[in-house]
């Protein structure tokens, strides 16, 4: 089983949203990382077949998905970043509707819907109108519909936004179990969501694929660039101007411990620390307010 994204590009007038991306996606959980506007959603929409690529093609087991048509959609599940429901539908109505659209038999529909309602802890609201649900619950309904047909290829665009920490942990565990012998591609801003479960990651920036690999392989890119140091609390604003600070922790005696990203240590007592995927993300997508040129070493 393989999803092959072959030299895919998408052009919107003057904007190249996705620029010649090639990626071979094999079974397992894939994390798709990138800042806003990186082109993740556009790429996912093209995989879902709701947007046509300007050039390139997407193949599933060697056959272009536009040729597979219904047979690809039969093994496909998709949760868009933003999506609407029919306001008149209850959770159960909606899942039944999607189950029919996914070609499930009445018996399978009933079984799968009950199972997912249980897994997504939605059983108690199954007869409630979706419009009356909280953002997190709506998201869970969205996830449930994507899983209804037990898809071989599951694409989830920001699936955990709106979920509380407990729900995110449950979701991660569910996905880890589900991804056995299946392709699961998750785009997210919340790096920790994929750090623990992704077998592979792909990092996008400005429409291009910057890097791909396992979490361990990717974090190597920022090895020797993650530091911790103790600084006086009153000098924090000055450091914030100069450094990409990842974490701040208050300590005694007016001191604070900072974790920062830089090509070389900024202070003499800085110690190198093991990088995480989040460090890589922040290294690749630094916040605008931070000036890093001097110490980042990126342009060295």
């Amino acid at each position: 089983m393989e999803l092959y994204i072959k030299h895919i590009s998408k052009q919107f007038k003057d904007l190249t949203a996705v620029n010649d991306i090639t990626l071979q996606i094999t079974p397992g959980v894939w994390g798709l990382l990138g800042a806003n506007g990186a082109g993740k959603t556009t790429l996912m929409r093209m995989i879902a077949g709701i947007m046509k690529p300007t050039s390139g093609q997407i193949l599933y087991d060697g056959i272009p998905i536009h040729e597979l048509k219904e047979s690809f959609r039969d093994v496909f599940g998709y949760l868009p970043q933003e999506f609407g429901f029919y306001p008149e539908f209850t959770v159960k109505d909606y899942l039944e509707y999607i189950a029919v659209l996914k070609g499930l038999t009445p018996k399978d529909s009933k079984r799968k819907i009950n199972e997912l309602l249980e897994q997504m802890t939605l059983s108690h609201v199954k007869n409630k109108k979706i419009t009356k649900l909280s953002g997190g619950m709506k998201r869970r309904v969205g996830i449930a519909q994507a899983l209804l047909n037990e898809p071989e290829v599951l694409i989830l665009d920001e699936p955990t936004s709106g979920l509380d920490p407990g729900e995110r942990v449950r979701f991660r565990n569910l996905l880890s179990e589900f991804a056995h012998d299946r392709i699961v591609l998750i785009s997210t801003h919340i790096v920790s969501d994929v750090e623990y479960i992704a077998t592979q990651n792909a990092v996008m920036k400005e429409g291009k694929l910057l890097a791909k690999g396992t979490t361990e392989e990717l974090v190597k890119l920022v090895e020797g660039k993650v530091w911790s140091a103790r600084i006086p609390m009153n000098r924090l604003p000055e450091y914030e101007q100069k450094l990409q600070i990842v974490n701040i922790r208050n300590e005694d005696n007016g001191q604070i411990a900072i974790r920062y990203l830089a090509g070389r240590p900024f202070t003499e007592d800085s110690l190198p620390v093991s990088p995480h995927l989040e460090d890589l993300y922040l290294w690749l997508f630094p916040t605008d307010t931070v000036s890093k040129k001097t110490f980042s070493g990126k342009n060295d």
Binding site: R73, G84, Y86, E88, G103
Partner: protein, 415 residues
Amino acid sequence: MRLFKLEIKRILKTRATLVLLFLALGLSFVMAYLPITFSYNSYTDANGDTVKLTGLASIAYEKKLQADIAGSVTPQKVRQAVESYQACLTKYGVENSYDLPEGVYQSEIFPYAPLLHGIREAFADRSTGIAPSIMEIAPQEVDRYYEVCRERLVSLMQMEQEKHPAAQKAAVTMYEKVEKPYLFFPGYSTDAMDYQIILAFLVLLFCAIIAAPVFTSDYQTGADDILRCTKCGKIKFAVTKMISMLFITGITFTLCAVIYITVSNNLWGWECTKTSIQMLYSIVNLPNMNIGQLQCFIAIFGLVCILSNVSFTLFLSSRFKNLTASLSAALLFCILPTIIYMLLPAEIGSWIYSILPAGGNGLQTSVLYAAIDFDFWNIGTISIWLPHVMLGAYIIEIPLFLFLTVYSYVKHEAG
């Protein structure tokens, strides 16, 4: 079938749709009753007081007074009516029935007045079309009443379709098939037919409002992104949505028409449905129909028209990504035939509005008015009666717009 049932359930769960459907059904009762209230009659009683009658009482009074003339409209009956009319006006020394003393028209002419309907039109001048006064008509000429009517149609068509002999011939052929003598049963008013048209137009608007969001709403809310990724989310889904919409609008319109016709005829009296349309509209109308048949004709024609318009609205819905735009366009196309009727010259206007999906249920362009008019579509030597053109257009448009809707939906790309 499961998807169809769920789609119907979904549509019927939408509050706005339900409100519109119930409003349409409620209006069917109201619209059927309203024309009754317009009926008005008055008479002077034994004490010399004027008694005013409205509504059902007025209709009952009219039926009672005109009971003797109910049935076949034979030339003899018409001649007798003409003679009585002329004798009455001569007796009172007036030229016009409006000049008769109060109460005389009601007591002496009103009982047979419906037989005089169209007599002036039938005897209109063959070259100018100007109708004579009833006083100028020779009673013995009325013995040839139906021949005179035919001659009138020939001259009328020569004036109306001067350059189109095919149209003249087609009209005469149609008229020859009209059953004669005409039938007349008192009490009915053409207001009832007009209100059936208004009802059809309102249901057309409601159905357009229900159909406009079918695809657009999904595009706008993003629901479509999930739906079209499913196994049956493209052609099957689009077809199911269309069939569901056509089913609901078809059932709604049929129910409205059945309610209207049933209530209306119960109020006016079912015997009125046997009246030939020539006794209420032009004396030389082309369709061989009585009022009951005309009601059914308008209902069936209206149904085809509404299905055509819903198909077109679904097409618009599959094209627009914004609900306001989709709804505005759908409503604009509902009133477009009327706008064209008012703005463009008659010949060009009728060419256009007769093929527009909403034309047949338009307020001014309704098939009722096309059926009682003498308009033909003339292409070279071929002339086609306007209602036939309209019907042909809708029969072509329904599958055409449905096909375009599916095509447009399948090709739609997320924004």
